[in-house]
């Protein structure tokens, strides 16, 4: 199955019909003009810290030796319209892409063009969001149990009883659905837990703040908030409603949220919780696996086994540790106030998988001085369980889908 450049060109020539002769010559010239791999970085939506950090990580890696001389990286932003990303994938395939590392806007709508790209020998690596087409690689934390683990942590903090809010993502979105199903699997076991309000915050700080403020108008006596990304807005809303009372909040990885969790003043008035969720570093991991496959130092995985799990970050309040430099070193995981915006998503580094990166990589896409691309550890790639609608279509989810991995229940239902 190992595809060398020539083998791929041959396969390609065999696949394309007479009508696409022009395309195939175009492919060859694009790829061999300067002997570099032609890689596209395809974003759908761009306009929040998370997306730009994830993109910057790939840009920084591509500018780090030896990729600097072997990779031609082209960034394409398609916007929120799936039709636009379909169109751009088509264009990339026609341009003779060797690989596409991408944040897909839809888990299903892109399948057809992805399948067609695979047939033309293009490697597809999706990060964070996934597609259900089996020929693409999905590198994602989605299967790592964000929903159920944070829900259990909240239940533990509340001693198994209390009124809570669910601050969700985008209605009708498969990722939001998966997280919430996991969380409800836990909450439903505890009759003492009462979900009094459930609202959609579009993974945005400001929307979360406004939606939480609305819910607080009805339930000022809420005991805890389970939030997806945008969690820092929930804390701001709580403080706005009552500067002297906070409640346990679980959420994702914004720097503002982590600083709040570690703030002794906030802890004193009731804040408790855990920071977990989607790490932008997934993009860098996806890109490195793809390059190792292209360079022939890693065996491609057979179709149907290309779902790779990225480990879930897990930082409770007492584990927040400020970084002194521009990297995650000595177990630090948060940046001091003022160094990055509060919406900055902290999980941009991974000392084992991505030792090449520093803060300038995440913020500006610049390579770290003196860094060189390190091979991934042998055990880096961990298969993800099947989840219908997330990373496969007609498949069975494992029985223990929502088993807890990061936290033990400290209260019984």
């Amino acid at each position: 199955m190992k595809l060398t450049k020539t083998a791929k060109a041959l396969a390609l020539a065999a696949l394309v019909g007479a009508g696409t002769q022009l395309a195939s010559t175009d492919v060859a010239s694009a790829k061999t003009a300067d002997g570099k791999w032609l890689i596209y970085l395809s974003l759908s939506y761009s306009g929040n810290s998370w997306q730009s950090e994830a993109a910057n990580i790939v840009k920084a890696l591509a500018a780090t030796p030896p990729f600097k001389d072997t990779v031609e990286l082209v960034e394409v932003i398609s916007g929120t319209d799936p039709q636009a990303q379909i169109s751009d994938y088509e264009s990339m395939i026609a341009k003779g892409a060797d690989g596409i590392v991408s944040f897909p806007i839809s888990s299903t709508a892109l399948n057809r063009v992805v399948q067609r790209g695979c047939k033309e020998g293009v490697l597809f690596f999706m990060y964070d969001a996934t597609v259900t087409e089996q020929c693409a690689y999905n590198i994602s934390y989605i299967t790592s149990g964000f929903g159920e683990n944070t829900a259990q942590a909240l239940v533990n903090a509340l001693d198994g009883k209390g009124k809570i809010f669910l601050s969700r993502g985008v209605p009708g979105n498969s990722v939001d659905d998966r997280h919430t199903n996991g969380a409800m699997h836990i909450f439903n076991q505890y009759p003492g837990i009462d979900v009094v309000a459930e609202y959609y915050s579009y993974w945005d700080d400001r929307t979360t703040q406004q939606e939480t403020a609305k819910a607080l108008a009805a339930h000022p006596d809420v005991d805890g908030i389970w939030a997806q990304a945008g969690e820092y807005g929930a804390i701001q809303a709580l403080l706005q409603a009552n500067p002297n009372r906070l409640v346990p909040v679980t959420g994702e990885n914004s720097n503002g949220f982590r600083l709040a969790l570690a703030n002794p003043d906030y802890q004193a008035i009731g804040l408790d919780g855990v920071s977990a969720g989607s790490p932008p570093a997934q993009s860098g991991f996806a890109f490195k696996i793809m390059m190792e496959i292209l360079n022939g130092t890693r065996e491609p995985l057979p179709e149907g086994q290309r779902n790779i799990e990225y480990p879930l970050p897990w930082v409770p309040g007492d584990a927040v540790k400020l970084c002194e430099g521009d990297k995650f070193e000595n177990g630090c995981n948060t940046f001091p106030e003022g160094k990055v915006p509060s919406s900055f998503v902290t999980e941009v580094f991974n000392p084992e998988l991505l030792p090449e990166l520093s803060l300038a990589s995440a913020l500006e896409g610049k390579p770290t001085e003196g860094a060189e691309i390190q091979p991934l550890p042998a055990d880096a790639v961990k298969a993800a369980p099947n989840e219908p609608g997330i990373n496969c279509r007609q498949c069975e989810a494992p029985e223990n889908l929502y088993h807890l991995t990061k936290v033990e229940p400290t209260v019984q239902p």
């Binding site: 306009g47 929040n48 945005d204 700080d205 929307t207 703040q209 609305k214 009805a218 915006p341 919406s343």
Partner: protein, 341 residues
């Protein structure tokens, strides 16, 4: 020439009559919107005991203020038979500039505020000039300008808006005065100012005239082009101001902070009794529309039902309000009131 003038004055007279006849109708419509909003808040007590309380009203007033600010500008543009789709992007522009230029310090606050709002006005001027002088349809002109502004914000911030608004601004948004959030006073002042500007100032009357009958306004010698451009500039100013206030509220900016205001700003204006065909509208009605929409959203958030049903209810209530508030529904009521008067 003479002939034309008589036509113009005849047209103007006719319009005048209609306008006076509409005042009582407008008043009833506005009273009905506020009544409906109030009834909804009272009825929501059934959902949660904390509802119907003063603190809920405070939250609704606070959150609706952002919508009121930008809906005022949208209303002026609609008054001159336009539509401003660039509102979302200009809100983002205002917010992003506020966060990045103020950068968490009060230094230069007094000249940064006009500078930021000035940048937003420039955007409005461009839209207005395109619509008034190059005859680009408002829909496509403002949509294209919005696209361009958003894209510039994206490039300017490289996708990550940084910085914080001045502590003066974020402090104001958190402040309470006599137990009421400071922005609520700002909202009241804005409503008074907006009403005077739209309905009782010379500028407002001229805008009304252009919207009512562009041909008559043209013949009467009103500078339609300048007036139309100024409506778009006002809209951009209001949107920029909304962005600035939002940045103060959230203590930072995001690139999609304006998205959730585009359609509601149009809906607030139209629910408030203004005609999308221009020349008819009252800012107090728009404020009522904004309050109604915000109250509805607040109540729906607290309802423990599936999102699909919530969405259906949201659309249903808007549709109901539109049907219930149309003028024909009050024909009878108006007749009675008219007789008494």
């Amino acid at each position: 020439m003479q002939n034309e003038k008589t036509i113009a004055s005849a047209v103007a007279e006719q319009e005048d009559n209609r306008a006076t006849a509409k005042i009582s109708g407008e008043f009833v419509t506005i009273a009905a919107i506020f009544g409906l909003t109030f009834a909804m808040i009272l009825a929501s007590r059934a959902i949660s005991p904390s509802f119907g309380s003063w603190s809920q009203v405070e939250t609704i007033l606070y959150l609706s203020s952002f919508l009121v600010f930008c809906a005022f500008g949208q209303g002026l543009v609609i008054l001159v038979r336009g539509l401003d789709l660039s509102i979302a992007s200009v809100i983002t522009l205002g917010g992003v500039l506020t966060a990045s230029l103020m950068n968490g310090s009060n230094e230069g606050f007094l000249y940064l505020v006009p500078a930021i709002l000035g940048a937003c006005i420039v955007v409005g001027l461009i839209s207005g000039i395109g619509v008034a002088y190059f005859r680009v349809p408002p829909f496509i002109m403002t949509m294209a300008v919005g696209l361009i502004v958003y894209s510039l914000c994206l490039g300017f911030t490289r996708g990550t808006p940084r910085g914080y608004p001045a502590p003066l601004l974020s402090g104001f948004m958190q402040d309470k005065f006599l137990g009421v959030p400071a922005p609520v006073y700002l909202l009241l002042a804005f409503v008074v100012f907006g009403t005077i500007l739209q309905s009782y100032s010379v500028f407002g009357r001229k805008l009304n005239a252009v919207g009512n009958n562009p041909l008559a306004a043209y013949i009467a010698g009103l500078p339609s082009g300048v007036l139309i451009v100024s409506a778009y500039a006002m809209s951009a100013l209001c949107a920029g101001f909304t962005g600035m206030m939002l940045a103060g509220y959230a203590n930072g900016a995001t690139l999609r902070m304006g998205d959730s205001y585009l359609l509601p700003s149009i809906a607030a204006v139209v629910v408030g009794g203004s005609s999308i065909l221009g020349g008819q509208g009252n800012f107090v009605g728009t404020v009522g529309g904004a309050l109604l929409l915000t109250a509805l959203a607040t109540i729906l958030t607290a309802l423990g039902i599936e999102q699909g049903w919530k969405t259906i209810m949201e659309g249903g209530v808007i549709l109901f309000a539109l049907i219930a508030l149309r003028e024909q529904s009050f024909a009878f009521l108006r007749e009675v009131l008219g007789k008494r008067g």
